[in-house]
Subunit: 139 residues, 4 copies
């Protein structure tokens, strides 16, 4: 799959379209299979005990698959999540950013599917996995 | 399943244990199958266009199943989400609270499963469905 | 949602299009929310110990959502499953048929979503729940 | 994770415990992350048009994760599937076996999680992905 938006272009897009949340995320890398996105963990992401909350991990996985899709099809602001599944396997390490590594598994005309492994920075074992399906509007 | 915590007890528990998010939720009703929880929609839940964000809906479903479990087993702060699936079916109506209606489908010694229908207040068609599994620590 | 195919029409369609598996299923009822489908449990569905296998339950849920969709949109042989999630909560009772009760949650132009509760006949507690998404070809 | 059962041991286990279905599957390889399992596609797996049925793919993914778990913990006949999600992305090629590549993502005392990519033999693009959670009985 040809790359249509690089990290710089995705960053600009994120700031324009999702200004409320853009400063939480950083595009780490455009990979062969998709992208890697960082969640810059802040106090607002934490639960008692210092662990990152479920909604923060969901938000990371959701944005990460979205950016992986855009990196291949270009800026399409109207793609919407239609379904997802997540498994939460370990507690994220306290005081570490999270990294979401996306593999785009399908990029069809109407539907795109990506799966995600989330790890704490510096850790090996995944803290969560996710798969997300997006509906893509007619282009 | 006997009710061990009523709406007042769940409200106190939520404030004690999850003070950061407690004011976003209201326990509407303890039902025969589970509970109904309201997300009091605020600006921080919204995406451009005025629709409630995916992470806000995830957070609502997650808390709602958790409170449904606690309503039947009593205060167990250490239950953790192990997996979930969600389908996003319609855009939530702008300017309306969301209601999450939980059915507890299983309440085992180690695992509990609940499913959730989320509707915009005053609307009939569900905006999302979810199912969540929690691991319950030995009691 | 108007009913376009009743139990008799669905039965004929199932025999015509899925002759290999049609005799395993019976359309019990067209309900207000969807349909109820019976799996006539045979030896080929069983695992050691007499319990119904996972693939048999998957097959039941998949067919049941498909028939629920067709009951409302008419015979569309080309709808395909795009995603699903299932939770297996209890062992099915040995020697009992399974009943799958479908609620159609969305019936859009491109995507349809249904959820399913599976019970052993005569039992109250669900043995499994499922949600299935189908892509519907342009009509 | 140390390997406790190799391909030969898994094959014997499968024949002993699941004699009804054992001849459908072949253990291709014990991998660093898990295992690769082949579904030897037969007429009974096919739908009209020659494509492999959904229940056959579910059964493959389910068995594959189970065997991946056993390869690391040894023969535990009582592990049970508690939840799963699947995405069906492309039609399997007609007349080809399917290969399921499992990554074990978690192997805890009570729960194990694996994800699966299914491809048609000789094809590159995945036809389906899945994640399965198993509950492991106390050892």
């Amino acid at each position: 799959m040809t790359v249509k938006m690089d990290a710089a272009a995705l960053t600009v897009f994120l700031r324009d379209q999702f200004s409320q949340v853009a400063d939480q995320f950083r595009i780490e890398e455009i990979t062969e299979a998709g992208v890697t996105i960082r969640l810059i963990v802040k106090d607002s992401h934490l639960r008692p005990g210092g662990t990152v909350s479920g909604p923060a991990m969901f938000g990371l996985a959701d944005v990460a698959v979205y950016l992986a899709i855009l990196s291949r099809i270009g800026p399409v602001a109207l793609a919407v999540t239609t379904s997802c599944s997540m498994d939460f396997m370990r507690k994220p390490a306290a005081g570490r950013d999270l990294l979401a590594e996306v593999r785009l598994l399908k990029l069809g005309r109407q539907l795109a599917v990506g799966d995600v492994l989330i790890t704490s920075e510096g850790g090996e074992d995944p803290v969560a996995r996710a798969s997300f399906t997006y509906a893509i509007p007619p282009r």
